[in-house]
Each structure stands twice: as structure tokens, then as C-alpha cells.
Amino acid sequence: MVDALRESHRVLKSDGLLIDLRPVAVQRRVGLTDDGAYRLRWRMPESFDDDRAADAAVAHVVRDGLFKPAGRERFQCYRLFDYLDDFIAWLIERDKIKTHGWLVRKLERELTKAETGAKIVVRSPLVLSVLKKLAGPAAG
């Protein structure tokens, strides 16, 4: 990750910005919606090792004088799935289907009781961090 950030520094103009957009390291909430209201009932247990590694990489290049923090904004991001199969495909893409079978079964039960057209909703807060390019230690 540090190598990628160094490459970014190389291709950025002297006053350029690096934007790091990713989920906040908190558990996603999952539920249903059928009337515009999101009823989030379950949490997805997740590992945040990758987030900690990314934070460490950013801290590394800031310490090296390549970038300085220039802003940070946190906001909510929702994903709406029309069908349970879509949600299952999303879990499979993320290699989470084995650990989240319980969640699929709970959603399946809830969907049978819900209104026709109910969607599955996943809430994941995101954080957008802005870093400003500095000349770096080589330029003094």
C-alpha cells in the first residue's frame, strides 16, 4: 500500500490531491425496506485488518512528508438489493457467504413475511479523506 501511495505522489501535480474513499471500520447494518424507511436489524461481523493496514500506510507517507491531511468527511452509504439472490451474490463476491449463512436465513424468513417489493438494505458509513501533496523529503 505504501508503494501505491508513493506512485500516486509521483503522478500527482505539485498541488494535487489524493482522495481515500472507503468504508468506515464499523460493522455494516442489514435490514429490509418496503416503504422508504430502512429497518436495520442485524450487524455483519467483519474483520478490519485491511482498514488498519490502510491507515498505517497513510500514516507512513504522511510521516515521510509526501502528503498532509487536508480534510475528512464521513457519511452514510446504502445499498439496496431487489432480491435475496442479489444479496447472496454480493456476499459471494466478498467471500463472506460461509460466515453469513445465518444472515441469509434470517432475511429469507423476514422476506416471506414482508410486503411484496421489499428490498434488502445494507448500511455502510463511508469516510472520504483528502490528502494534499507535499514536495517530499527529497525536495527539502
Binding site: M1, D3, A4, L5, E7, S8, R10, V11, L12, K13, S14, G16, L17, L18, I19, D20, L21, R22, P23, A54, A57, V58, G71, E73, F75, Q76, C77, Y78, R79, L80, F81, D82, Y83, D86, A89, W90, L126, L128, V130
Partner: protein, 98 residues
């Protein structure tokens, strides 16, 4: 996959708060199927988008609306070895990829 990501457009609002994007040269790293690339281009930027997965790059290209054809360029590539000259971009974005 019938999926809507960020129906409230909070992501776009947060990006729009950062700067005026019109005519800015942007490198997006980890573009996937190009969802965010299209949103950034819609803000007025010229987007060079890369992803290490050639399948996703092909998907992004095939799903690109004509109105973005001159505004987004998708390529397979890795963040650790960029094939771009020094000091080319105004902005580099890591989108879920750091």
C-alpha cells in the same frame, strides 16, 4: 445484479464538497465496473480509471454510456506500477482500494 448503491447520492455530495471538478484530470485507482468513474465524470472531470482485474475493466468499458466516451478512459493496471508520466493528474482517488 439489480442493485442500487448510494440512492441518496451522499457520495457525490461529499466529492462535490472537496473541489470544483470541472476539467480536472483524475486518476481513479480500483475503478471496478466504473460506477464511481461515471459519477466523477458527471461532475465535469476527465477520468483515467484503472483496475487490476481485466474482466472488470471490460465490463466497465462495455457499460459506458456514450455521453461519457470522451470523459472516461478505462485500463487494466496496478496502483503500485502506474504507466503515467510524472505530475500528470490533479487528483488521485483510491475508491475502496487502499
Amino acid at each position: 445484479m439489480p442493485l442500487i448503491v448510494d440512492p441518496e447520492q451522499n457520495e457525490v455530495k461529499a466529492l462535490a464538497d472537496v473541489m470544483l471538478w470541472r476539467r480536472k484530470s483524475v486518476l481513479e485507482i480500483g475503478c471496478g465496473s466504473g460506477r464511481l468513474s461515471r459519477r466523477i465524470a458527471a461532475l465535469g472531470a476527465i477520468v483515467h480509471a484503472i483496475d487490476p482485474d481485466p474482466k472488470l475493466v471490460r465490463k466497465a468499458r462495455s457499460g459506458l454510456p456514450k455521453r461519457f466516451a470522451n470523459r472516461i478512459n478505462f485500463r487494466a493496471g496496478k496502483a503500485e506500477k502506474l504507466h503515467h508520466r510524472n505530475e500528470k493528474f490533479d487528483v488521485v482517488i483510491f475508491a475502496w482500494s487502499l
